[in-house]
């Protein structure tokens, strides 16, 4: 009840932009995911604060002055200013997590990265001296490139026209593409692998395959592209 009334106030304040004044409701929750758009995002990176005054004078100075006066949203528990903080890995951990067991999800991911590193270092030591530079040993870059290779370019949406529903190819936002890549990766590892292997083993196999542009997730992505290409005649059914 309180949430819906707050939502109403926020949506009202957000929609009527001309009346957007420095205004906060009398009852404020400390950590909340929906804030008045008057609140600014927190700056977590350490490098942003260690820069001297003489960088990017006009914009930066203005932004800093603004941040001194405006209220700032509370940072979430998962954001850190450490060098090991990777937003993509954090997102993946949250997607793997079930029943709120983030410790287990994070363990799985760290074991996956370790496993990837082990396999790559083994490969590195086995290759002859001339080809050693081509082996990528950094598990984070492997993770990032594998996910990039899994992201689809166009997606399909079910649009109803004249009583019949058609699969129409549509452009996807970056967030949606990243979500689809991660979702396919996780479902593929959970369902289509041998049940006696650990999740970190399955994930590392699939990530290394995606890095080489092979494997079931890449196949799924190509199938989506083929479906989109087959349905390209219906592209005009979109209205946005």
């Amino acid at each position: 009840m309180l949430g819906s009334s707050l939502k109403h106030i926020f949506s009202m304040a957000a929609s009527v932009a001309g009346l957007l004044k420095p205004w906060t409701p009398s009852v404020v929750l400390v950590r909340w995911s929906r804030y008045n758009p008057y609140y600014l995002e927190p700056e977590v990176r350490r490098e942003a604060y260690s820069r001297p005054e003489a960088e990017l004078s006009a914009e930066e100075q203005e932004e800093r002055k603004l941040k001194e006066l405006r209220p700032i949203k509370a940072a979430t528990c998962s954001t850190t200013s450490s060098v090991f903080d990777d937003p993509l890995i954090s997102k993946f951990v949250r997607m793997i997590m079930t029943d709120g067991n983030k410790v287990l999800a994070r363990e799985i991911i760290t074991q996956t990265l370790e496993n990837i590193k082990r396999k790559q270092v083994e490969k590195y030591h086995k290759t002859p001296a001339g080809k050693k530079e081509e082996i990528e040993c950094n598990p984070y870059t492997i993770f990032h490139t594998a996910l990039e290779n899994c992201k689809p370019v166009v997606g399909l949406a079910s649009i109803q026209k004249g009583g019949k529903s058609y699969q129409v190819p549509i452009p996807l936002t970056d967030n949606r593409r990243r979500f689809l890549a991660m979702k396919w990766m996780i479902t593929e590892c959970r369902e289509n692998k041998h049940r006696r292997t650990h999740m970190y083993e399955k994930l590392s196999q699939e990530l290394l395959a995606a890095f080489e542009k092979e494997g079931n997730v890449i196949k799924k992505r190509q199938e989506l592209h083929k479906m989109a290409e087959a349905n390209r005649a219906y592209a005009h059914y979109r209205w946005w």
């Binding site: 009202m12 929609s15 009527v16 932009a17 370019v153 166009v154 190819p169 452009p171 936002t173 190509q222 592209h225 083929k226 989109a228 290409e229 390209r232 592209a235 005009h236 059914y237 979109r238 209205w239 946005w240």
Partner: protein, 115 residues
Amino acid sequence: MSAQEKVRLLLSRQNGKPVLKPNRALVLKDAVAIRRPRKGEATCITEMSVLMACWKQNNFADALCSTEISSFYTCVSKAQAAMKNQSEQSLHQGRLPPKQALTLLKRFPNIQSEI
């Protein structure tokens, strides 16, 4: 002639039949009808068709179609920015969207009684 006098003329029975025979009071409501916005056109169709042709030629290999993919992405980002600007521009052109008009009317309704 003011609006009140015009309305009085339209309702009067002195010059024959009245022009208006309202069954409700001639009073403005505190709400506006929310009409669905006009359906637009599909954006970035040419870029998409070019991309699909490239895919068909190269058997869906993405390494060979990188230029088409990047041009498609730029088109998509431009279209999204244009959509965002359009919703802001409608405010500046003197035309208030029905939802915002509704919230304003709810906050500042018509006067019901004299104070």
